[in-house]
Amino acid sequence: MLIGIDVGGTFTDGVLYHDHKILRSMKSPTESDNLQASVLAVLDELLKDTRGSDIARVVLSTTLVTNLLATGGGDKVALILIPGPGLNLRQLRFFNFAYIVEGATDFRGRITEPLNKSQIERAGEEIVAAGIDKVAIAGKFSPRNSSHERETKQILLSRHPHLQIITGFEVSGQLNFLRRTVTTYYTAVTKNTWASFATNVQAAIRARGIDAAIDILKADGGTMPLPVSLQYPCETIFSGPAASTMGAYALTLDEKTSVVIDIGGTTTDLALILEGEPLHSSRGALIGGLHSNVRSFATRALALGGDSAVRWQEGKLTIGPDRLGPAACFGGPVATPTDAINLLKQGKLGPLPPSQQALEKIARPAGLTVAELAQQTIDQAIAQLLASINDMFTAWEQEPAYKIWELIHRRPVTADRVIGIGAAAAAFMPLIAAKLGCRSFVHTYSPIANALGAAVSRPTLSLLLHADTKRRHYHLNIDGITGSCNSNWRLTDAKEEARNQLRKIAQQRGIGHYANQYEFFREEQFNMIRGWSTTGKLYDVGIQIAPGVIDGFKGVQP
């Protein structure tokens, strides 16, 4: 039996799944200042008729790190940057304790300026004097050569052994110094808070007699074992939208192109599944308005939900962005889009009179009939959703390509289907589908699809290998792993090495049984010509265990 729990902003959802059936499901309000209690409340409910020892897997998706970052919580961190030539980072005014030190590495990993040791020592003194004990170090091109980051860490530790230090190459090995800086910094900010939450939850789960694997859902729709998450706390952001996207994926499991629409109380999350594959964002998740290196789904959030407050303001109808409570038909204080649908459907969702009364309060000063107001509310909400959906398709079509082949073979995408997730989905989906001219899909388990998505998502692992046969070495984007390569390496050798490394890292992380489900997503080779002859080759190989469902999962029976 598997357990999936998704701690969302408003509700915590959980499912107990076994053999294509959902045995139990649970929805309870989230206690925002005690997420652990929220998790355990749902867990205990799910375990009511089940022994802990029968549980084979627990997957958690939580908003802890997202909340921490949104509220500016976490630990105080000093930042040391080794940027070399380029943008003037003195203008990067987001981090209070930031030091820029001399030293430079170029795109092929060659050191072009030595590190300035005394600058680092001075920074160390100031950081310690300010009472800060966590440091993030980020160097430009550190994925190609991490020696400056390592050296900086050593210099600091030799004087101040108590410092906790995170280096950029450990957390983010893709090329993008700004994103690496952001990711490294926020990893340091959230690491301790996440670790104490994760270990407490783990202890509580063990105390319930569950000795199964505990996995954490990541923004990319895959899971990672809890111990691994201690090193990558930022990977847990935006796991809510990831959970609902994977839920939609798990409920359909086909090769269609779908828009996933998760209509919550206050917000709606949108995601795309293109020909059966959930679409990732090419830019990395946003943290505090800055791009990070965290791989996430290309999701969009709208401040528009089933419970958004409907108002008439200055001659205009407004919906949201706030929620004052549930819909009027469920005892809430004001009219909501849910009430509008309830009215037009003559009480199909809940008791009609409260919806009618709430809408009347707005309709009268607006000079509309109740039915007109309800229709306008729905039209406006649908129009907003459609604009965002079209925007997402356009953004996908305009994703940059760097090869002629990619550009020529691109075709426009259209949705085959909308998949409704969340409690309010059933009422809205047919309306949206009609406007998009596609089918609508709402499953019996749509309201708790997010928790199901968490329960059945498989682990993911993505690896980039960059090899330079002239310099005879290669780098991975994970943990700063490097190795040497032969000067006559061919692309097949680079791919073989990437495959071996994927297997090795998967085993270390305890997800070795998925190591054979890899795919190559990038295979690039460049001849380096100096003078008029080839002097070496550069290879970029990407290999991944893509998001998917666990072995043996074939869908759920309603």
Partner: protein, 465 residues
């Protein structure tokens, strides 16, 4: 050369119209030949540098996707022999299309300016295109300029060619056009390909002084180029008042370029673009792929986006490494003075140069296509019209490895008077009926009607774009 002082934080949100557009199309699957300077690897390190820099995440930058230029967009500029598809592969159409995407975004006020960082380049491609010259098949800037003139009704455009090689293709295309100011500064043609771009190349008889060449002595530094900008290019632009400024942005003036001998730096390029403030920059040459391109491209993007470039430098750059010497400076002063004088007398020269009583002006030319080893003979015949820049006829005969071919081309400029338009169309109709001897194709480039025809004498078939 004082860089601006910058107080804006790096991530300050930019209003859309305050953004700089960027098309980055490195064509990682295209090369002239595996070891050719114009090969897959050319923009690889530039990609690494701009990706690692994270510059495309900044709110000041908006990335665009290139598109394929239409065949018609190319026929608006070139007489491609035998046809457009034969000269413009997908790679060429994407490079030109990248420039068109940027032009559309600038002209519709989506962005304040933009850079088409594309390859293959184009500025050696002339009006008649029999093959590849100087790594170029079709002229990306000219295709863009004619597109915006057609679509947005622009008339006066300035193209500043900052590539180290003379922009002989662009010069050829605008030789007879008084509304396009073409200024090229480049290493002296006596010492570098294509061996042209001398001060006495000043434009056709009806477009005198809107083609301006500035041959630079080998070794010219940032300081020299700023002198030319401040004392020649910027004052001329001020007087000419173009509706659009285009930088035909080669990067081979760099001190490390393997094919030329100049001494510009990456920061010099940034300052150049800040001073010039082009609406659109289009990448041309530049073959120092590791030492220059990553830094120069970054510098151009930063300058156009108004980002502080004071921390931008090549790893081996040392301040005062290159100093302008007195001798070179004196040469530059003379060139600047003479060419500024030329520009100011342009109307007078055009009036004087108008042959009295002669209905046509002719010139004979020989053009060599280095890449494809084609030799072309041209006879240009320009209608000397008192009311407009006149229509142009070109008899072109090319001989190369593919054999020999002769074509006849007629071009009606946008500004042509109704009389010239009629005469040119009648001439094409006549040519269709009675082919000149051994001529394989006749072409009519009718810009006022935006239609482009070609007649195949062998198949007796006409194609219209």
């Amino acid at each position: 050369m004082n860089p601006k002082t910058y107080n804006r934080p790096l991530y300050q949100p930019a209003a859309p119209y305050d953004q700089t557009g960027l098309v980055f199309f490195p064509a990682f699957d295209w090369a002239i030949s595996p070891t050719h300077p114009e090969r897959e690897e050319r923009l690889l390190y530039t990609r690494d540098q701009i990706f690692e820099e994270g510059i495309m995440d900044l709110p000041q930058i908006r990335q665009y996707q290139p598109r394929l230029a239409e065949l018609k967009d190319i026929a608006r500029v070139h007489f491609c022999v035998p046809n457009v598809a034969a000269q413009a592969s997908e790679a060429h159409r994407i490079a030109a299309g990248g420039a068109l995407v940027i032009a559309d975004a600038v002209l519709s006020d989506e962005i304040k300016n933009g850079f088409a960082l594309v390859r293959p380049p184009g500025h050696h491609a002339m009006r008649v295109a029999h093959g590849n010259r100087g790594f170029c098949n079709i002229n990306n800037e000219a295709i863009m300029v004619e597109y915006v003139r057609q679509k947005y009704g622009l008339r006066r455009v300035a193209i500043i060619d900052t590539d180290v090689h003379h922009g002989d293709g662009t010069q050829d295309i605008y030789w007879h056009d008084p509304d396009v100011l073409f200024i090229s500064f480049h290493q002296d043609g006596r010492t570098l390909y294509p061996g042209t771009g001398f001060m006495n190349e000043t434009g056709g008889p009806l477009a005198q002084g809107t083609t301006i060449n500035v041959p630079l002595p080998p070794g010219t530094t940032d300081e020299g180029i700023f002198y030319v900008l401040d004392n020649l290019v910027l004052p001329i632009l001020d007087e000419f008042q173009p509706e659009l400024i285009v930088n035909s942005a080669g990067q081979d003036n760099h001190y490390s370029d393997p094919l030329a001998n100049m001494s510009f730096s990456a920061r010099g390029y940034a300052i150049l673009n800040e001073k010039l403030a082009p609406d659109i920059a289009v990448l041309e040459g530049g073959y120092s792929i590791e030492t220059a391109l990553p830094y120069v491209n970054l510098g151009i993007i930063m300058a156009m986006a108004g980002l502080d470039y004071s921390n931008l430098y090549e790893p081996d750059y040392r301040q005062n490494r290159f100093k302008e010497n007195r001798n070179r400076m004196q040469q530059l002063e003379k060139i600047v003075q003479q060419q500024y004088h030329l520009f100011q007398r342009r109307h007078q020269l055009t009036a004087q140069g108008r042959p009295t009583g002669e209905p046509f002006y002719q010139r004979q030319r020989h053009i060599y296509y280095d890449t494809d080893q084609i030799r072309e003979q041209q006879l240009e015949t320009l209608r000397i019209c008192p009311r407009c820049p006149g229509y142009l006829m070109i008899d072109s005969e090319a001989a190369g490895p593919q054999g020999r071919i002769k074509v006849h081309c007629i071009s009606i400029p946008q500004q042509a008077c109704s009389g010239c338009q009629r005469a040119a169309r009648d001439h094409y109709a006549k040519m269709r009926r009675r082919p000149p001897e051994a001529c394989a194709y006749s072409y009519l480039q009718d810009r006022p009607r935006d239609t482009y025809q070609q007649y195949d004498y062998h198949r007796q078939r006409e194609q219209t774009l």
